[in-house]
């Protein structure tokens, strides 16, 4: 070991520094894979809507290029700067949500979730900004609180600063899934920082009980009410009964997964992408399973597993609490998105609109996810070898 290290030292000028090539490789692989899959999935619909099969691919390529630049930027700038810029980051992200109420806000598919950037036709989804903003802000806040994190007052403070953007996202953009992810990130970070286990498990149990009661209630009412979330839960329980409307997308996604067999129909051979509206968004995983089979789907899950594992390593060896908390936030973010997305696609949980990182179509998402990866790489860069051992 020590010989290896010393030889490495001699080769590299900064021997004590560590760079997570595995993470970078996994991310780049996922990016390229995501673009290929996106093209395969979206070409059909893009052709119908825009007479250009590569329409979505081009937009995503631009966003990916921009995101890579941001990632490099985040990697080059010492992450400790964010400890000082945490409050501005928080404020800016919240302002971006509020801007949706201004004329800059843009509606698409009946939902007002986007911000128009200039007249270029590009748009930004503030919910994605908030996700990163909350990671930076909470990491700085928890670091500042230090050991006081265990106090109920601190927990209340963290809950308050989280609930504010949570409520904004929920009520301004009517985007429950993004709000849930923001809450989830906050919960994960708080859980990591607080040495206490008991209260979190009690909280989880209470949440589980509430969910079960809610499900029982929904089932008891049985009939449709006006609320679409209500219907989604019902449709989740009996997808076949709502095949025409609420669970149409879910069911078509399931058909896609089921018809893929083990090695799939082959890249680009999906039939279900013609049935599934906007298959390139939330349901992209089902088309992966159809085209590349169960094998392809499991490979994607494994890649995300590796990504999260690399985050764990970086977090575990972070030089300081702030760095570790940043990486923990990113790790929580990726974990939640991947788990929720695949759970929705396989109808394990009711339908919410969570995208699959790097693969689903969405420019803002890819830019900020890459920025977060940049932060993680930056933290890994500052990990000294001594501490890694």
């Amino acid at each position: 070991m020590s010989q290896n290290r010393s030889r490495g030292r001699r080769r590299k000028k900064q021997p004590e520094n560590f760079f997570d090539y595995t993470l970078l490789f996994v991310v780049l692989f996922l990016l390229v894979f995501g673009l290929i899959v996106l093209y395969s999935v979206s070409a059909y619909e893009a052709n119908i809507k825009f007479q250009d099969g590569a329409y979505y691919l081009k937009k995503q390529l631009i966003a990916t290029g921009f995101g890579l630049a941001i990632m490099v930027g985040a990697f080059l700038v010492d992450y400790h700067i964010w400890e000082r810029l945490a409050v501005p980051a928080y404020v800016v992200s919240i302002l971006s949500v509020l801007l949706i109420l201004s004329p800059l806000g843009r509606e698409y598919n009946g939902a007002r979730r986007w911000l128009e950037v200039g007249s270029s036709g590009m748009s930004v989804q503030p919910a994605e900004i908030v996700k990163m903003g909350i990671i930076i802000f909470l990491a700085a806040l928890i670091t500042a609180l230090g050991p006081g994190i265990a106090r109920w007052k601190s927990i209340g403070l963290i809950a308050a600063v989280t609930l504010f953007p949570f409520a904004l996202i929920l009520f301004i953009t009517r985007n429950l899934s993004s709000a849930l992810i923001i809450g989830g990130i906050a919960f994960v970070m708080l859980f990591m920082a607080d040495p206490n286990y008991k209260k979190y498990f009690v909280l989880l149990l209470v949440a589980a009980a509430v969910i079960v009661l809610l499900l029982l209630y929904v089932k008891g009412v049985g009939q449709k009410t006006g609320d679409f979330r209500f219907n989604r839960v019902l449709a989740w329980m009996n997808p076949e009964e709502y095949a025409d409307d609420t669970s149409f997308q879910t069911l078509q996604g399931l058909y896609a997964i089921g018809s893929g067999d083990f090695f799939g129909k082959g890249l680009g051979e999906s039939i279900q992408k013609m049935q599934l509206p906007e298959a390139q968004n939330d349901m992209v995983f089902s088309i992966i399973c159809e085209e590349l089979g169960v094998f392809g789907g499991l490979c994607v899950i494994a890649l995300f597993g590796v990504l999260i594992y690399r985050c764990l390593l970086v977090a575990n060896n972070a030089p300081d609490t702030f760095g570790a908390l940043l990486v923990v936030g990113v790790m929580g973010h990726f974990s939640l998105q991947v788990i929720l997305n695949i759970a929705v696609v396989t109808n394990t949980i009711p339908n919410t609109g969570v995208t699959l990182p790097f693969i689903s179509y969405g420019g803002t998402s890819v830019v900020f996810l890459l920025a977060e990866i940049g932060l993680v790489l930056n933290v890994s860069l500052r990990t000294t070898v001594r501490e890694q051992v």
Partner: protein, 793 residues
């Protein structure tokens, strides 16, 4: 608590820092532990989801794969083909298919619509444009918000759909309504030629008549519109167009068809309930009008007709109470009787019309020479049976012509004895008696079991066979056989369809007249025509002769079985003109509703009326001077035109238009004829009309283009058998036999056309000597441009 406070105080700075560092390290350590715990939780979740994916693929794979394939169907749509049309000889539509629209309501599209007023606006427009119950439809949409296919109304014509489409164009709130295309069979003549045309329901399956016989020809194949994914992953829409069906052009002439139907109805209606109370004027009745030179059916009808657009409607025939009292079987039986074509599907004993067959068989076989005479004492005893002649006091001495003229049964029985059963049966077989004629209409009866087997025939069978009793025939068999007797012995297969065109109007098949056999020699045929002319000139058939014409024919009165009940089948078979038959009319009346049935004059009267009206239409001109009585009768029918009524020359059009008759068809007929003749300039050199558009020469009789390579005289051939040449009556072998009154009328106005015909023939073949009369030629030129001008050439 107190313990901790006590400890805190003595801590030094160094200790405090150490302590803080320791706490921080502890925190960091717990965080590291929790990170690992979190990681494992995530891994468990991912593994669980992987298991779920595997489960979905393994357990639901087959089911979902089927679902995926099943959904592909929605991308394809059937395009219905258009069934071909049925046209008459002049291109008038007897049947065609019209595009109609089914009104489909998509409730889902209305409920999903972003417009608040989608339901009210759509329902409002539907209520304005269609005869629908808006309240009920609204309820349907509210009750079935997910329904996407609800047929509101079927088979709407385009002019009903168009206003709605306009409204939809202007009002964006109208949604969820679309139209499915379909074809609907239309019969513009409604009852016209109903049994001949037949009808077709929604399934494009013809029933009866041409619709059934030519079902496959009329039908096309459905097209399909479907989408598929191309190599570039773009959805390509491909349309395989429907192959529309072929169109039939028939030899039926709507005008002639209307004429025969008019007089049939007139006859049947005039005898309605006359003897048998509450019954139709006839039990059955049929008329066939046929071209003896081609076997083409020009008109054919039975009684009564039914509405092809509504074939199951019994209200024109029965009262409401009778209809509601009928069970399914009775209704079905009644409908089948109504729909079947009496002319081809029903058999009967032909009666005396068959005497023409018997005598031609004797002449042709050489068993008769034409010079025989027979004595009729009113009855004849054949192997113990006493068979009476219809004239119980006897006809006295009759020759062959006389036997036909007087329709003498006793003479015919003696003829039959001379022929022997084998000869007679052989000839009947040659005349297709007992065989199908293979006419191109569905439902022709088989008669092979309804004729005598020569092996088992006894003398009395032979005796009654000679005058058409004891065996059964169909009308079309008799008409076709008779055509061969008068046309020189050529048996043409009777047919209705002359041409088949594809959907673009291109002729793909022409059905030429088809000679099946030579039944008798041309010489025998000439003799027969002469005898049959005598029947109408001085025998039993005088009633059938239309004013101004010389025709031939044979009457028939057959007693129906069981004998002695007073039920008869009356018939008359006539042809005109006598010297050059261009049309054969056969009328059969089964049990007229009169007290005293056995009078062939019933059928003769109908034939006379039909010929009186149709011969001028067929451009066959009167050859005899009209008596004043006849003239006034024709004037009443509005059948005199300028060429025949010199007094009306100056005001021909005026008189045609002002003279009111209750026959609308005639009004269409004659003025049209004159219009045509007036509209076309006549080429002074050839006598043909000149097409005003192209300058081509047209034949004046049917306005078809003149083919300079052929003489185009088929309409004129047959004059070679002109009976005006007086020869010895007894030399049956002489083709130009018999004394016909036609020849005596060369100088009369009626004779001019006839001479025109003769002169016209001379163009084609001047080796045959024809009486040539310069006066008649001049008359032809001035009054009958077609033939007369031909003579000038």
């Amino acid at each position: 608590m107190s313990n901790r406070r006590r400890r805190k105080r003595p801590l030094t700075k160094e200790e405090r820092r150490q302590k803080e560092k320791h706490v921080k390290r502890q925190l960091f350590k717990s965080m590291q532990q929790k990170e690992v715990l979190f990681f494992w939780l995530v891994m468990v979740a991912l593994i669980g989801l992987s298991a779920r994916v595997i489960y979905l693929s393994r357990e639901k794979g087959t089911e979902y794969s089927k679902q995926v394939l099943a959904q592909q169907r929605y991308d394809s749509r059937t395009l219905p083909y258009k069934r071909g049309e049925i046209l008459d000889a002049n291109g008038t539509k007897l049947a065609y298919s019209e595009k109609v629209y089914n009104l489909i309501l998509d409730a889902n599209a209305i409920t999903e619509s972003r417009k608040e007023d989608a339901l009210t606006e759509t329902m409002g427009a539907l209520g304005r444009c269609f005869d629908v119950d808006v309240a009920e439809l609204t309820r349907y949409v509210n009750d079935n918000p997910n329904s996407q296919y609800y047929v509101v109304d079927k088979r709407l014509p385009y002019d009903q759909v168009a206003p709605f489409l306009e409204e939809k164009e202007e009002n964006a709130s109208i949604t969820g309504v679309w139209f499915e295309e379909e074809y609907k069979r239309q019969y513009p003549g409604s009852t016209l030629a109903s049994s001949v045309v037949g009808f077709t329901g929604t399934d494009n399956n013809g029933t009866y008549g041409l619709e059934e016989f030519y079902n496959a020809t009329l039908n096309g194949s459905n097209g399909r519109e479907y989408g598929y994914l191309s190599e570039e992953s773009t959805l390509e829409r491909t349309t395989i167009p429907a192959q529309d069906g072929n169109t039939l052009v028939t030899s039926i002439d709507v005008n002639l068809q209307s004429i025969i139907e008019k007089y049939m109805n007139q006859f049947a209606e005039s005898h309605r309930g006359e003897y048998r109370e509450g019954e139709d004027g006839v039990k059955n009745m049929g008329v066939i009008m046929m071209n003896p030179k081609t076997g083409e059916i020009m008109a054919m009808s039975d009684y009564p007709n039914f509405d092809l657009n509504n074939p199951k409607d019994l209200t024109p025939f029965l009262t409401e109470s009778v209809i509601s009292g009928m069970n399914d079987k009775e209704t079905y039986d009644y409908l089948n009787k109504l729909w079947r074509n009496f002319c081809i599907s029903d058999t009967y004993e032909p009666g005396s019309v068959a005497k023409a067959l018997t005598i031609s068989a004797g002449l042709d076989s050489g068993k008769l020479t034409g010079s025989e005479t027979f004595f009729c004492g009113g009855k004849l005893t054949v192997s113990g049976h006493e068979i009476k002649c219809h004239n119980h006091s006897g006809h006295g001495m009759v020759d062959l012509s006389g036997a036909l003229e007087k329709s003498c049964n006793v003479a015919l029985m003696q003829i039959g004895e001379r022929e022997g059963k084998d000869t007679l049966m052989e000839y009947l077989y040659n005349f297709n008696i007992g065989l199908k004629t293979n006419i191109d209409l569905s439902g022709e009866a088989r008669t092979n079991t309804l004729v005598y087997d020569p092996e088992k025939m006894v003398a009395s069978d032979l005796a009654i066979s000679t005058f058409g009793q004891g065996y059964n025939v169909t009308m079309i068999q008799m008409a076709s056989a008779f055509c061969s007797i008068i046309n020189g012995g050529k048996y043409y297969e009777p047919h209705v369809v002359t041409e088949i065109r594809d959907s673009m109007g291109t002729t793909i098949k022409k059905i030429e007249p088809r000679i099946l056999k030579q039944t008798i020699s041309a010489t025998t045929s000439d003799t027969m025509r002469e005898y049959l002319t005598n029947v109408c000139e001085k025998g039993t058939g005088t009633t059938a002769v239309p004013a101004g014409y010389v025709i031939g024919g044979k009457t028939g009165t057959a007693e129906k079985q069981p004998r002695g009940t007073g039920n008869y089948v009356m018939s008359f078979m006539g042809f005109a003109p006598a010297d050059d038959p261009q049309v054969v009319v056969y009328c059969v009346i089964d049990e007229p509703n009169v007290a005293d049935q056995p009078h062939s004059t019933f059928a003769q009267e109908v034939v006379r009326q039909i010929l009186t009206e149709s011969l001028p239409y067929l451009h066959i001109y009167r050859t005899r001077e009209l008596t004043e009585e006849e003239q006034s009768e024709l004037e009443e029918l509005n059948l005199l035109n300028a060429s025949e009524n010199e007094a009306a020359v100056d005001s021909e059009e005026g008189s045609d238009q002002t003279e009111e008759t209750d026959d609308t068809l005639e009004e269409n007929d004659n003025p049209e004829q004159q219009e045509e003749e007036n509209a076309f300039a006549i080429d002074p050199d050839t006598g043909y009309a000149i097409d005003p558009d192209s300058g081509d020469l047209l034949r004046t009789d049917d306005f078809s283009p003149v083919d300079p390579t052929s003489s185009n005289l088929d309409g004129l051939i047959g004059v070679e058998n002109d009976p005006s040449q007086t020869t010895d009556n007894t030399t049956g072998a002489n083709p130009l036999a018999a004394t016909s009154p036609v020849g005596d009328q060369n100088d009369s106005s009626g004779g001019q056309e006839k001479q025109g015909v003769g002169a016209g023939f001379a163009i084609g073949d001047d080796s045959i000597s024809i009486e040539y009369n310069p006066d008649s030629l001049r008359g032809g030129n001035s009054e009958s441009s077609d033939f007369g001008a031909g003579a000038g050439f």
